[in-house]
Amino acid sequence: MFSSAVNLAVVVVLSGLSTQLSPVEAAAWGRIAPSIVVLLDGDQERGAAALIDSKGLFVAHKESVTGTEMRGRASTGAVLFFKVLSSDEPSQLVLLGCQEWKAGATALSAARRDARPGERLLAALGSGPIRAEFVSADRVGIVNPSRRVVQMNEIRFEAPADSVGGALVLTLNGELLGTLNATLQQIDEAPKQQSVIGGFNRDLLPKVRQDTRFGPAPMTVAYTVGPVALRRVLEGFRSPLHEVLHPSLGVFCRDAQGTGAVVEMVQTGSGAHRAGLRAGDIIFQLNGSPVQNQIDFAKLVFEQEVGSIIPMRVRRGASTILMMVRVGRLEETP
């Protein structure tokens, strides 16, 4: 009888804690919330969208969007109608327009600096915010099936019961760090085993924050597109045509097992094709930067501006060739 009462009391206390952000986090969310709308699929909360332009432009992950038109609920409780204006495949972001939007909330921008490892973040779900933690800005994501490389942020968070795919990831300053694109397997498998402590099963308890970490549930590792890609996407979405220009040379390559990237295929009509690049060539320098492997090459290409003409050095047999290559747009290459 007594142990049951204690268990109940613990559950009640921890339930309260689990939904609470720290005062700092709560204050940050209070500032951010007016710029966030909850996207609705019927009556279901499907995800969140962030205001990126005071004229009523919102960005959301494509997982949070259904069809070309949908409803959303503002922090004031008002229900608004949104229309899909554009989308960007590499980042999985969708641009939504809301004509009824009334200026007042602050438009969010992409983070101007890399977050620090260990920095506390907020992930906005349809059901509200959860805590997250920044890990690294130096992850390289290879997106299948396109085989494109995208620089990624790694974050981790305690997975809630509901889906987190497409959650908006924000700094406590109200800057947009990205949307949650992918999750890695859990770091710690141990908590999956039932742990009975003090007469009650902790796995049945709500998840709570412990000290500086979130435990006791395992942390889930997740990825958002990196700052360069995000800034490019938001800039493109805000442009008059809402177009995002990702750079591409139209080259598929592998590690040259030494120095450079060995070309496997050159897409017809691409900048590299026009410059005379062939399969078997080894690219070892791009725009003045050495290329150690195919990842280096992809990262360098991703940093270029569409339309620019850049030097590229390749080895063909025992010869060295200098080419000038026009950086194309990702969508232009077949």
């Binding site: 390289v140 290879i142 490389v149 992918a182 890695l184 005379g276 492997n293």
Partner: protein, 270 residues
């Protein structure tokens, strides 16, 4: 005959090899008189040892027999005036001399392709040749451009491989020495840097050559102008690389990501 084969034959003679090994040795012995002779020698030794041994058969362990056979078998026979070992070094020296003198190509200037101003390029009708050979007399080849895209994409310059090395680098005796030569050359000014694109350099600049790819000298000599330490952040090879699959994770609703330890064989689109 190498030592390994010699040991195998000894084991075969003693009956201490698998059926596969035995078949292999028999196959080799069919075509190799020397091997057959060796085999007979070992078999005779084995029979002799058995006959001479005062010990009972069960006391004559196979291990002891094998060791004895191997010991005797590996002893070098004394052959006075056997100069067969000279064949390989003499052949190598001959090939080297042949390569230095008989196959030396006529000296040609490196091929340099000059760049002209943008306006001139746009006006000139040109043919597209992704590869070009140079004019050996002048050391300057014609400009190579894409007729469809003269402004935007073209091969600007072609740097020919060295026809021969300098005297200093032609007698490299170790991969380390080769690496040093490569590094030294890498510090010299690059005549084909983009900023210097223009009329082809002459004289000393034209004589500048590119070393062959370091891979030609083996892994130990993997030093080139672009692989020197501190010239490039190599984090990509060391930091996490994740492959994102277009498959939803049932637990999180996000795409599934998997880490890869090495990206060396991963095909990348750029």
């Amino acid at each position: 005959m190498n030592r390994r084969l010699d040991e195998e034959i000894a084991r075969y003679a003693f009956g201490d090899v698998s059926a596969e090994q035995a078949a292999r040795i028999e196959r080799l012995a069919e075509n190799d008189p020397e091997l057959r002779a060796t085999l007979k020698t070992y078999q005779a030794m084995r029979d002799g040892l058995r006959q001479m041994s005062p010990a009972m058969d069960h006391q004559l362990s196979s291990a002891r027999l094998r060791e004895e056979i191997l010991r005797r078998g590996l002893e070098k026979s004394s052959r006075p005036f056997d100069l067969r070992w000279l064949i390989v070094p003499v052949a190598a020296a001959g090939a080297f001399v042949f390569g230095q003198f008989a196959l030396r190509p006529p000296a040609v200037a490196p091929v340099l392709v000059a760049s002209t101003s943008e306006s001139a390029k746009a006006a000139d009708p040109v043919e597209f040749q992704p590869w070009t050979s140079g004019d050996a007399a002048s050391g300057v080849s014609k400009i190579v451009r894409d007729p469809n895209d003269a402004h935007e994409s073209r091969i600007l310059a072609v740097k020919s491989p060295p026809k021969r090395r300098t005297a200093k680098s032609s007698f490299v005796r170790s991969s380390v020495e080769v690496g040093k030569v490569a590094m030294k050359t890498a510090t010299e000014p690059d005549a084909l840097a983009l900023g210097s694109a223009g009329p082809a350099p002459s004289g000393g600049a034209a004589a500048e050559m590119t070393l062959e790819p370091p891979s030609a000298f083996g892994a130990g000599a993997a030093l080139s102008e672009l692989t020197a330490p501190a010239t490039r952040d190599t984090a990509a090879k060391e930091s996490g690389i994740v492959v994102i699959q277009p498959v939803r994770d049932a637990a999180t609703g996000a795409y599934r990501a998997t880490e890869v330890a090495s990206s060396s064989n991963v095909l990348i689109g750029s």
